[in-house]
């Protein structure tokens, strides 16, 4: 085989240098939006997360809502919706993004509330699968510069090899200044989540009472009577809150 000419050698060398340089650059300078750090996902691999179910409505209504007000509210709801999605996607799926999202979206006071609430999941969780994520956003009918949102996320995953499921209900209050929405108030109610069992409609009440305990029922009873003192399988910081 004839040896490549000098020109061809230079061309091959240049191509190799570009490839190596690009690889090194991608390694040192993470790709993403502007200067954003790369998102590190803790989602279960290959699992499709459910769609967000978000409703928006006018709030603070004491008379009828005019058409112009509705349009204004819809416009602001379109601005708010991706921000709320981004926040809770960060909390549950991309924890390394939380600080950045909070810094841009929260006021100082709300950020303190968020940190105090210990919202989110413990550090060593993995394989997160979101069961349900819904949000109800109310935008103030007078001026559309204030809003409130109730967000519920139910997720399950693994913590130190053990399965857990958590329900989080978050209340956010938002104010808009200079076209930017900021969270000014935040509170959360987070607790372990168990799917409610469906009643057996085919059997009468008496049959249900007198029937032999199912394997699931026996497991439930043994769990209730467990006095070993093992901590309940829950996410860190989970607690219930009453009004």
């Amino acid at each position: 085989m004839p040896r490549p000419t000098t020109g061809k050698r230079l061309l091959i060398g240049a191509i190799v240098a570009v490839i190596v340089g690009a690889g090194a650059l991608a390694f040192v300078w993470p790709l993403g939006e502007g200067d954003a750090p790369r998102r590190i996902s803790i989602a279960a691999p290959g699992v499709r997360q459910p769609r967000w179910r978000i409703t928006t409505e006018p709030a603070g209504v004491i008379h009828s809502v005019h058409r112009d007000d509705r349009r204004r509210i819809q416009r602001q709801a379109r601005a708010l919706t991706p921000r709320i999605r981004r926040l809770f996607n960060a909390i549950f799926l991309y924890p390394n993004q939380v600080a950045r999202v909070v810094n841009r979206f929260f006021s100082e006071e709300a950020e303190v509330s968020l940190k105090r609430s210990k919202a989110g999941l413990p550090r060593r969780v993995s394989d997160i699968k979101i069961m349900r994520r819904t949000a109800r956003i109310g935008v103030d009918v007078s001026g559309a510069t204030r809003a409130a949102a109730k967000v519920r996320v139910i997720a399950k995953g693994l913590l130190n090899g053990e399965r857990f499921a958590v329900r989080q209900d978050a209340d956010l209050w938002l104010a808009r200044k200079a076209r930017r929405w900021k969270v000014i108030g935040f509170q959360i109610d987070q607790a372990p989540w168990r799917r409610a069992t469906q009643p057996d409609k085919a059997r009468t009440g008496r049959q249900r009472r007198d029937s032999d305990p199912s394997e699931g029922g026996a497991k439930e009873r043994s769990r209730r009577s467990d006095r070993s003192g093992r901590p309940e399988r829950s996410a860190k910081g989970a607690r219930s809150k009453k009004p």
Binding site: G60, I62, G138, D140, T145, D171, W173, K242
Partner: protein, 293 residues
């Protein structure tokens, strides 16, 4: 062209005359709700916010009356989300800046809510951030529009003076019965002092209602704001009002103390008054430092 100019001048003149009349306070507005800042700048003291709540006896038959029958300082510590309501009987004998000594409710007559706030600041050492003043119609209107307030009564309350006729148990009070409840004093053993305490209980009932509604739907704060603004003339920016509402909705009624200042009955000349007991100073100090009771 001339006809058009005359028409334009007439239109401008009509608007110039009519608009001020529309905005002029009438008999009912004198008894509505007004609010404002006590100081030019809002500066919460280490996360504590204090609001002076005044109930005056202005009503449509007597719109110019400005005697304060209800005087309360509501405090909230935004770090712990706890608070307190400190109640002052209306006959409390105090020094009123620039007006010598007299009953505390006279400060409202002499200098309005600002003078009353400064009088209380001098007595307690607390820096009051906002004042809210409510007349009869405004009070009834807001309570009715919000759907009433639930209060528990260990004993029935029948008061001929205020018209209160409430049986024992947990009752939902509408606008009219709420007003009768907070005005009742003749049937109470401790008279005006008991009335002050009941007014504090009503404020806590209102807070409990707000928190209950917000628990279901956080946008309820916006509805409460809309109702308040319907009956009120506010010198507080809407953003600050919203922030106050959000803070209040995060405070549990169980974490709010209700204390009436300790007083003793006496006379100032021929007038029957109450004097502040020395042990009230400890209450003022605690409230000033923690905003909790």
């Amino acid at each position: 062209m001339i006809k058009r100019s005359i028409g334009l001048v007439a239109l401008v003149a009509t608007v110039a005359v009519t608009v001020p009349l529309i905005g002029a306070p009438d008999a009912t507005q004198a008894s509505s709700v007004t609010a404002g800042r006590v100081h030019a700048q809002f500066q919460p003291t280490d996360g504590k916010i204090f609001v002076l709540v005044i109930g005056n006896d202005a009503r449509s038959g007597n719109p110019n009356s400005s005697r304060a029958d209800a005087i309360h300082i509501a405090g909230i510590d935004t770090k712990s989300m706890r608070g307190g309501i400190l109640n002052f009987p209306r006959d409390t004998y105090v020094s009123i800046p620039g007006h010598g000594s007299g009953r505390i409710n006279e400060a409202l007559t002499y200098g309005g809510p600002q003078l009353l706030a400064r009088t209380l600041e001098k007595i307690t050492g607390i820096r009051i951030d906002y004042w809210v003043m409510v007349g009869f119609e405004g009070f009834q209107g807001i309570v009715s529009a919000l759907g009433g307030v639930r209060i528990h009564f260990n004993e029935p309350l029948f008061d001929t003076g205020s018209g209160a006729h409430i049986r024992a148990g947990t009752r939902r009070l509408g606008g009219k019965s709420s007003l009768a409840f907070v005005r009742a004093r003749k049937s109470l053993p401790s008279g005006d002092i008991g009335r002050s305490t009941n007014q504090g209980r009503f404020l806590i009932g209102l807070l409990r209602k707000l928190r209950g509604e917000v628990h279901t739907n956080p946008a309820s704060v916006l509805r409460w704001m809309a109702v308040t603004r319907r009956f009120a003339r506010l010198d507080i920016p809407a953003d600050e009002l919203f922030r106050l509402g959000v803070l209040a909705s995060q405070v549990s009624a169980r974490d709010v103390g209700n204390v009436t200042i300790p007083v003793r009955i006496g006379f100032a000349g021929a007038a029957s008054v109450v004097f502040i007991e020395p042990r009230a100073q400890d209450i003022f100090k605690r409230f000033r430092k923690t905003a909790r009771l």
